[in-house]
């Protein structure tokens, strides 16, 4: 493997890692605040890409990418809040909420995926890259869009971190996760905070979907494979630690790119699964997990 190939493998690994980081961070945020795992996360991604396409793309309503992204983000925050309201809130006081939420969010995933199929059909669609063209990077050329992904993902995640760390509402979201009763006694509006966490997480997924939508074709199943990857990332990083999740996302992204190159597309899922299992055998709560 010469330097050029090595670099392009590295770059594509980082692109993948960036997308997984956006996805898995949302999953992890919901896990820490609500203690449930959202299987509809992948389809949120799909919906985000479709809405951005519908509003923004020339074959849709052609209102331009900015409008597309803005509407998609708003819609996903709304969808996230609604999902929390229907899929999680009614069950939150039940002791088996973890299992019930798996079932309700899976059902919602099926529901939304088929809705997307009804609305948009199965035909391939694609978003135009946010920025056209290619740039030389290291010694390979990569599309500007991919450079954008590499840059935007950490910025988004940094903004999320700053929000959770410094904003009043952000610390309240973290607080609710740690001690619900004290949060209530301090006058926090717990249901609203839960909704907000869900909405934020959905927006992150949708954003990842938009970024992915101009690299891959948008189909109703667009989010399924990234969901599984995000799932592996979440397990690998240990659910609940944002830092661990982000780190794990890049590790998995790189691993995937390397394995794609050396072992090929077909066995890569097995390699990732194998790695995940090896990690779990040694550390049952993930590499960086504490629960």
């Amino acid at each position: 493997m010469d330097i050029g190939t090595a670099q392009s493998v590295l770059l594509s690994g980082i692109v993948l890692g960036s997308l997984y980081a956006l996805m898995a961070t949302g999953l992890s945020l919901i896990w820490t605040t609500l203690g449930i795992f959202n299987f509809a996360h992948g389809v949120f991604m799909t919906i985000g890409a479709f809405i951005a396409w519908q509003i923004g793309a020339d074959l849709g309503w052609g209102m331009g990418p900015a409008a597309g992204i803005a509407v998609a983000m708003a819609a996903l925050i709304g969808l996230g809040c609604l999902s929390e309201f229907i899929l999680v809130r009614p069950f939150l006081r039940r002791p088996d909420v973890v299992l019930v939420a798996v079932i309700t969010t899976l059902s919602a995933a099926i529901f939304l995926e088929n809705s997307a199929l009804l609305v948009w059909g199965g035909r391939y669609k694609q978003l135009p890259p946010l920025i056209e063209g290619k740039v030389g990077m290291l010694s390979t050329a990569i599309s500007t869009h991919e450079v954008l992904i590499i840059a935007v993902a950490p910025l988004t995640l940094f903004a999320l971190w700053a929000f959770l760390k410094f904003a009043r509402t952000g610390s309240a979201i973290r607080a609710v996760a740690q001690n619900r009763e004290s949060a209530l006694l301090m006058g926090m509006n717990v249901p609203v905070l839960y909704s907000l966490a869900f909405g934020l997480s959905a927006a992150l997924a949708g954003f990842a979907g938009i970024l992915l939508g101009s690299i891959r074709f948008i189909t109703p199943g667009l989010g399924n494979e990234p969901l599984v990857k995000a799932l592996i990332v979440a397990i690998f990083g240990g659910l609940g630690s944002l830092g661990g999740t982000i780190g794990a996302a890049y590790v998995i992204g790189l691993m995937e790119a390397i394995s794609m190159f050396f072992i090929g597309l077909y066995w890569t899922p097995a390699v990732l699964f194998g790695v995940m299992i090896s990690v779990l055998l040694v550390r049952p709560t993930g590499l960086f997990g504490k629960r």
Binding site: W31, F37, F39, I86, L87, P90, F91, R94, P95, D96, V97, V98, L99, V100, V102, I103, T104, L106, S107, A108, A109, I110, F111, E113, N114, S115, L117, L118, N224, V228, L231, I232, A234, I235, L239, L265, Y266, W267, P269, A270, F273, M276, I277, L280, L281, P284, T285, G286
Partner: protein
């Protein structure tokens, strides 16, 4: 034996009798086809109940065991040329092997991690099936599988008469197997583990061993069902990994009620007929089924079985399904 002919057992025997006589009375091959599919689903759902319901293991890879049976039998019969009479039972063993593979990482895990690993496992199987095109036919699947035959008699003839009875026979076998299993010492021990892990472990029940057994035992008839399925529809296709199949099986389980064996079987009858009635709706069908699952959980978490039990006025046991279902989260 005295209670063999009382209460629920009597009802079950009557149901069985009706099912045995039905093809003789109702000539429609279409109804027979629906019932064959129902038998298959019933096996999948009721065996899933063993791990998800009784043992409280959050196993979401059950469909992968079915798929393993499906493809295993297809490969053995079509590629290698073994008679389907043998590949169907062998499919059970293949299902068990798949279960043992997924067991490896799951043994030490808790709660949500079990869900994630088992779910990821079934997705992995999906990817492998897609990618190993030479063996599995990739996204096209494996069509034209050899049918069940005795001599020259093809079981699909006479309106699938033969398949109907083979399917019913397998379902009865699987049900007796599950019925005895959950009432055995093993059955009691997995419920004990689910309800109070620490206590059960302190009484010398091994978590890892019981989990492995649970998954393995629940995979056998699931694999058989898979083998029978692909033999019957004569194709092994990757569609079974989709959310559609998963949601159907899940809705049967929830509609029927966990921890009941017979509940999911009943659920399979209701959902298959319902789903078949909606077959013209296309994707709408899955919208309705998934909405139904959520509504069930919202308004009737005990499932049909619970309703039946109340009807039987088993006052001491009624409500148990709902209560047991709730305790699952402790795992």
């Amino acid at each position: 034996m005295r209670d063999l002919l009382t209460g629920p057992n009597l009802a079950r025997l009557i149901c069985l009798l009706i099912l045995i006589l039905l093809p003789l009375v109702v000539p429609s091959p279409y109804i027979r086809h629906l019932l064959i599919i129902t038998f298959i689903y019933a096996m999948v759902a009721s065996n899933w109940d063993l791990s998800l319901g009784y043992a409280g293991v959050f196993n979401f890879g059950h469909i992968a065991f079915f798929a393993a049976g499906c493809y295993g039998s297809a490969i053995l019969s079509k590629t290698i040329g073994i008679t389907p009479w043998l590949t169907i039972p062998l499919a059970g063993i293949i299902g068990v092997i798949a279960a043992l593979i997924v067991c490896l990482p799951v043994l030490r895990l808790k709660g949500i991690y079990v869900v994630l690993v088992t779910f990821a496992f079934s997705q992995l199987c999906f990817q492998l099936v897609l990618s190993q095109e030479e063996i599995t036919g990739g996204s096209m699947g494996m069509p034209l599988l050899p049918p069940l035959k005795i001599g020259d008699y093809n079981f699909a003839r006479d309106g699938k008469f033969g398949y109907y009875y083979v399917g019913l026979f397998l379902l009865v076998l699987s049900t007796i197997y599950l019925h005895r299993l959950v009432r055995s010492r093993f059955g009691t021990s997995i419920v004990a583990l689910r309800d109070n892990e620490d206590y059960a472990i302190s009484r010398g029940i091994s978590l890892a061993r019981q989990r492995m057994l649970t998954l393995g035992l629940s995979a056998f008839f699931t694999g058989v069902a898979g083998g029978f399925y692909s033999t019957y529809v004569r194709v092994a296709s990757p569609e079974i990994f989709g959310f559609g199949f998963l949601s159907l099986a899940l809705s049967m389980l929830l509609l029927g009620g966990l921890n009941s064996i017979y509940g999911p079987i009943l659920g399979a009858f209701v959902i298959t007929l319902l789903s078949e009635a909606m077959v013209d709706l296309g994707p709408m069908r899955f919208l309705i089924i998934s909405a139904l699952i959520i509504l069930m959980l919202l308004f009737y978490p005990g499932g049909l079985n619970n309703a039946l039990q109340q009807a039987y006025k088993w006052s001491s046991r009624s409500g148990a399904a709902a209560r047991l279902f709730r305790t699952n989260a402790r795992n």
